[in-house]
Symmetry: C2
Subunit: 217 residues, 2 copies
């Protein structure tokens, strides 16, 4: 019983990794960058993606794939920006898998794009475990979540190529030690670039935008 359970799990992950590899091949063929955006529900992922597309869409040709368990609310928020947006519904699963991303990616006008932003299901944990063929995972952490999260959920912070520390306008009202948070992040991932951002107050966005623009080089 135990042996069978492990074998099936490996089959599933093996299939996921094969789809992720197909996506990588497709991205290289089309000279595209794909970011896997991961963070808790309500940490500000969609809002920063809206701001990013609004500000950079004359320089960078974006598409967005919105991962959710139910509803098309997030895709509806981004569609008015005039870029290709698709909603990926996971039917209950708490993370995106590579096959669904690959299908949705293949339907995009890839020759007319530079960067594909994939917003994963709102969850700090499971999405970090599934390769979707991305060039980089971007971790999001809202300061409202507490400074200890990099220690409690280290996988995402270890795997990420950038961290967006969001909602920093709320720092005056929170028992949150920014210094401790930065130390914890660097304990887990010593060289992780950290963007301290408030989308609501337009704080710290330029550094994040510059990082996005540099991805294409």
């Amino acid at each position: 019983m135990e042996t069978q359970r492990i074998r099936v799990y490996q089959d599933l992950m093996g299939a996921n990794d094969e789809w992720a590899q197909k996506t990588r091949t497709l991205l290289r063929e089309k000279n595209l960058v794909l970011l896997n955006i991961i963070g808790s529900a309500g940490c500000g992922k969609t809002t920063l993606l809206e701001k990013t597309v609004q500000s950079l869409k004359d320089k960078v040709r974006f598409a967005v794939l919105e991962g959710d368990i139910e509803t098309t609310r997030d895709a509806e928020r981004l569609a008015p920006l005039g870029i290709p947006v698709s909603q990926l519904l996971t039917s209950g699963a708490c993370h995106l898998e590579a096959k669904l991303v690959h299908y949705a990616l293949s339907d995009l006008p890839l020759d007319k794009l530079d960067v594909v932003l994939v917003e994963n299901v709102g969850n700090l944990v499971c999405p970090a475990e599934f390769d979707i063929g991305e060039d980089a995972k971007v971790a999001f952490l809202s300061v409202t979540e507490g400074e200890d999260k990099p220690l409690k959920y280290p996988l995402l912070f270890r795997e990420a190529k950038a961290l967006v520390l969001s909602k920093i306008d709320l720092l005056p009202y929170l028992p949150f030690s920014l210094q401790a948070c930065l130390e914890y992040v660097h304990q887990v991932n010593a060289n992780l670039p950290i963007f301290q951002v408030s989308s609501l107050h337009n704080t710290g966005l330029k550094e994040w935008f510059d990082w996005i623009c540099l991805l294409r080089e």
Copy 2:
């Protein structure tokens, strides 16, 4: 291949439900109440549990089981309160399963307890899918997470017997519609009791404490 995959999943869930049933039997034998506390990482679960135990421990004999992926930080926060506290580490899994809860519960001094508070792994999604033998799931939603979460992650809100809407002291600084949030919650679960709470400012705690005290009756 497809058939085999489904069979194994059912076996796993079947085993989980058997352990949950053993826990229910044990709880009835010992006249105990067990709450399964579920919400995103950093939504204020541990802080409200600290306040709850501090305020009620002369009336209610509590124990706490702290579910986390890594670290014993949350158990260390609660241990100074002088009640039985155990840390349940899931080794990577994003939710508690019934077997681990049953083992930890069995090691508690059950004849000297009234209420066992189980804080699940910080995650709005997967923990709602796993029965751990609880009398009630309690959903936590921080107002920093946005008012649309009951629609986007309905399972937890549908299954819960109470909702703690936390961090309401931050409402003046957030683009959060309380009215819309309450409407969305009631679309999913018409009669769900909602406690609007700020642990930091000691707001709304009395109604929550009263609900906890009523559980024993």
